[in-house]
Homo-oligomer: 328 residues x 2
């Protein structure tokens, strides 16, 4: 395939933009066919893999440094929800025919920025060409104390349900971008940023083992993902509709909190942690949240049964027309 | 994105076609956000990542079970060249809008077949949609005794250069497919098979630590890849043109061995192992090859200096117009 726009070619791009991101000795400066994974006595290496595709998981108009950050952060989100501390990643980049080399450079700058934020190293990967839209896949690994990885399946009747951060901001940011909104006020900027550069609670997640009984990341909509936890744990989750945490930016764009929450429940890309914990853990959870400057909200209860029920302040079930977001 | 062809949706596809491939306890049946990597005392876990894109690394007309096999085998090839035994992998599938569910089922059957061939387990992954052509990325891991991973950089003056299998078959198979050749004779079928389902010498590769001083897989053309080894090792490689191993199938399609070798040197996708070894290792190398029913050929010598020289039987350098194949 002729690639006049990417004059450096595959090996040149790797040497110029990606090798400088691979400082760990086991990565061999990306000059070999493979890397050696690090070992850490007393820890498990937890692995996850998430991919993003232009037009599906991000918009063609999103700057490529933020695309790189989103790629890393959707994976950091999975690790944080498992109680794991990010360590390193492998990267597949499929740049499009029209991709310019300066875009590759911008993408690499986004990677460098978030490697510093999360303490990540690049351990390897593959750089390929595609006749289609650009896409990127990341395999990320992180450390958790041996045997302490949080599962989706550990929630027990009597536990409380919690969520980090606020819900729905990213979905609203996507709606604003699709509508062509200009980011000329702080609230609009905050919502667009929530879509482009999600902010998974990595430091808080690393403190959750020992506190939470189950955890998962919220990426496909709060209610749908709560359903996954209920199914994996074999329990029933009830969520207090009014307690679902919203940002002031999101509230300001809706006629009522109810309207905002209905939309938020069906939006995707929150990259927060939904977790269950015994009531006696509440104090320690709030301390961990304060220590890591993370907002946490108790949003419901867990009982015997199955499925997710959303309850109004008066305790009546609320029927939701849309329970999640599908990227597929 | 509306996906009428893939009625099961993302979660349904994973449950139906991919979860049955994930039997290791650390994969949690693909029902969690992440997996826990296995540990093996005294061994390193070696990791590689290779992706394939329709129209770049395989043809739209290639059956999807062979595409799945090619995806796994290009990664097995990297591990084999490092002396590592395949253990498990994570998989990103980006199916196109027009992909039918029966194609996903066929792809999964190809994975199952090669999981059995190489002793692999599926450890996790991501299933996304793409508006472009299908693409697949694999992160594969394998075991090698601690500290024994073969590098590209270990070749020393005085070593001999070897290669496994035959060179150029895959390139000829690709040319036949592009010309619309019918696979109605065994030689044509063998060449097409070499392109669609490469056969990396996994068992032989696992015996190479302790025998070889350097190794890498041949995927971008023998001469170009030999250049990578020469550069990484800081040595000069001379290759005996006439000793480059060719299959009878390839020879039968060319006027002369010379014509066939010139083409073979510039073809890609061989997925054989190029390695360097001290002359005293020759006997053990031939024994390992016999034990694993692997063809190996001594194709050159290593000396002080840099770069790759291809020598005629009379010892004259041969100028090659094309030294490799680019997928980019």
């Amino acid at each position: 395939m002729a690639r006049p726009e990417l004059q450096s070619g595959e090996f040149g791009l790797i040497a110029k933009y990606f090798a400088p991101l691979a400082k760990d000795p086991g990565a061999f400066g990306l000059k070999d066919d493979a890397a050696i994974l690090p070992k850490r006595p007393g820890y498990d290496l937890v692995v996850t893999k998430d991919a993003i595709v232009e037009g599906v998981h991000y918009l063609a108009s999103d700057p490529l440094d933020t695309v790189a950050q989103k790629l890393l952060r959707v994976n950091v989100s999975d690790l944080a929800a498992k109680g794991a501390m990010p360590a390193g990643y492998l990267l597949m980049t499929a740049f499009a025919k029209h991709t310019q080399e300066k875009s590759v450079a911008l993408f690499a700058r986004g990677l460098a920025r978030d490697q510093a934020v999360y303490g990540l190293s690049l351990w390897g990967g593959d750089t390929v060409a595609t006749p289609g839209p650009p896409s990127f896949s990341c395999t990320m690994m992180g450390w958790v104390k041996a045997g302490r990885m949080l599962r989706r399946s550990g929630a027990r009747p009597g536990d409380e349900t919690w969520v980090t951060g606020t819900i729905g901001d990213s979905g609203e940011g996507l709606a604003l971008l699709r509508a062509g909104a200009a980011a000329n006020d702080p609230k609009t900027r905050a919502l667009i940023k929530a879509y482009r550069i999600p902010n998974p609670p990595a430091a808080f997640g690393a403190l959750l083992p020992g506190l939470a009984s189950a955890a998962m990341d919220v990426s496909d909509g709060l209610i749908q993902d709560a359903g996954h936890m209920a199914a994996a744990s074999g329990v029933a989750l009830s969520l207090d509709f009014a307690s679902i945490p919203l940002s002031l930016a999101l509230l300001s764009r809706n006629r009522s909190g109810k309207d905002a929450r209905l939309k938020a429940c069906a939006a995707g890309d929150d990259y927060q942690i939904l977790f269950a914990a015994a009531p006696k853990m509440a104090k320690a959870i709030l301390a961990a949240a304060a220590h890591t400057k993370t907002r946490v909200t108790r949003i419901g209860a867990i009982s015997k049964g199955r499925g997710v029920t959303v309850l109004s302040p008066s305790g009546e079930p609320i029927a939701l027309s849309k329970r999640g977001y599908t990227h597929f």
